[in-house]
Amino acid sequence: MMQIRPILAALRHHKAGTLLIALQIALTLAIVCNALFIIHQRLTHLSQPTGIDEDSLLIVQNQWAGRPAPAEVPSLLAADLDTLRKIPGVTNAYPSNTFPLSNGGIAYGIGHSPDKLKFTSDTAIYFTDENTLPTLGLKLVAGRNFRADEIGEAAGLDKIAPAVIIITHELADRLFPDGSAVGKMAYISNQPSIIIGVVERLQTPYVDSAMAQWSACSTLVPFRHLVDSTAYVVRVQPGQMADVASHVRAALYAANRMRVISAKDGVQTFAQVRATAYASDRGMAILMGAISVVLLAITAAGIVGLTSFWVGQRRKQIGVRRALGATQHDILSYFLTENLLIGFAGVVIGGVLALGLNLWLMNQFEVERLEPGYVIAGVIALLLLGQGAVLAPALRASHVPPVEATRSV
């Protein structure tokens, strides 16, 4: 470290090169910090638990052909559920309007009064029956499940005013922070519904960040939805998923041909549902990861290139220093220290740039404030990268023989 002064003096003769390396380190730090932070954000988003037994679930999306009247739908649903339950490997099933991560469904305001201007929270509405809890594998933390005789019917444009509902723990906390939701009343319509049960967790169908505020606020209503389109949520025994998935379409068509189950996404395992729902999050993480890796590689290569050039340019001076008694170690540490100095300048500017870029991203997009840990990690990574990159040319420099001093060119 005693060499800092001569190093600074020497750098003054390489202003452009010094500046370029520092600038490159600064920009790389700014981009990599933000990219890593975006990756972190996206991974957090896509690894949110739905609260259901994803591995055992299969989703079948059915549309009735020929528009059956609402009165005909219950018997059609009952027949289908019967067919589904008879498929070997299927343990349970229920029909619903939607399912977690489907990105479509019904959302209402829920609150303590029928006045909708004063609702407590948004909530997703799931049409369910007494088989929903065991099918999804939901954990009841208070109260009880629906009974079969509580399951009502609602046509497409009917109002949804259930006498009893089951809500998620998160929603119960928002409505009744003292933890006594069971037995209380809440309003999703202009009539009160009694909360009979609370489940630990059930994510809404929506993954959009605009609805992230209430992503754990779901309400189960005991209704059959008498409309054209139904999603059957099917629980499958471990190890039978592939079998059931390949047979279920044919089995339903064999029972009734007047239906549409899309060949593309009519039958999906929940793993497929999840992959589709979070495709853009995963894509962003991959893209940011790839850019970060290539960027670090290019910055390292750039440092190697420029330092090699400097070493080549200074062979004679190195020879002179060696002839005057500098050890190989002195030469090595000279180049390492030089790089460290430039690196420090770079990361200081880069840290500021990283925060600036983050502020801009926060302004323009839904990006959160950069956590300082990412900047610190980025600073350490780039300084180490610089030292690693400079090592090879510096070693070469340290092997310049003292006799070089006497050679011209």
Binding site: A16, G17, L27, A65
Partner: protein, 436 residues
Amino acid sequence: MFAYYLQLGIRSLKRNPMLTTLMVMAIGFGVAASMITYSVFRAVSGNPIPDKSSQLFVPQIDSWGPQQNEMGEPPGAFSYIDAMAVIKAHQATRQTLLYPVMLSALPHDANSIPVSVNGYAVTGDFFPMFEVPFQYGNGWSASDDDNRAPDVVLTAEFNQRMFGGANTVGREITLSGHDYRIVGVAKHWDPSPRFYAVWSDSAFQDPPDFYVLLNRALDLKTDSSGRNSCRGNLTFAGWDQWLQSNCVWLMPWVELDTSSDVARYRRFLEGYAADQQHVGRFAWPANVRLRDVMAWLDQMKVVPPESRISMVVASCFFLICLVNTIGLLLAKFMRRAGEIGVRRALGATRHEIYAQYLVEAAAVGLAGGGLGLLLTAVGMSGVGLLFDADIAKLAHLDFSLVGLTLIVAIFATVAAAFYPAWRAAQVQPAWQLKSN
């Protein structure tokens, strides 16, 4: 001279293969990342109907009021009551209402199974105002609208699937158990983003199969397969009460040719909303909007944030690659200070040295562009990994993108070479010759 410089440049590039490879790779990766993300951005942010986008407008009326609207913004669609009132007023050159419907159809061979088909319920003006091209037949007239005729226009793709592409005008088709008369078959027409339905549907989903006559769809109580957004307590039960509710689901469009027409139409909307206040239906002053296509796409945030962020990050990445290239070119050029000294001593002017090194840089740029093109092509096949499937399928490598890749690569590299080449041209011949 150019050819000679190029020759010199290539020879010099061959002398330091490592350094050259490094530069070419930096340019190649940088330009490829920028181009891949740009191709996606270009696809999602384009003008879907360039020749008419400034004449087509979405009227909005605040039917929910300041307490329930979207932070001061009126809802993005009409309730049935407002839709019918505004369309019947006929205040624009052309006007349409539309909403998405999902029906089922049975293909004509005996053992086929029903298929799900998606389309829009629209009024007759839809076809001329959006310039829908026709293969056979035509759209329908205003009198058909008034007569609530069971008319349908099929898309060419759906007509191909159902009828093998025959001229089906005048034939009947059964959709979800009801018969419709085919009056036209539209040629392939799928503006992207699908500006006319972005409030309800994803802007980039699969093209529709048909367009049915709106009044007929309403008579058959076909509800929207898209968004239906309501406020307050939902006290309606059944179709008729739903139509009278505050639920918004009908997407209106009007065609206005001149700016005075636009101003007049805005006054009409304000007048309508004020009238609603007077009769007591709205308890708030008029709050209306009238946006053209591009303003509407912007308002609906059609460009996914992912696309913008990734383009910003990729551009920054390219910038760093260029900084890297400046450094490497500097190293490369200055290493040849002796050679430059000799050339200058033999009579080459600064200007000629400058030109020579810029040409050398252009050669690097061209090679980088070539690599970038290759990487872009490879990246295009991987776009599906990075973006939503509906969006990824829109990105493609066309002639303009190929040209852009090469031009950006060359120009950026030459720009990066300005400083290093200037430094090279500043070499003092006497100094170099002396040290030799």
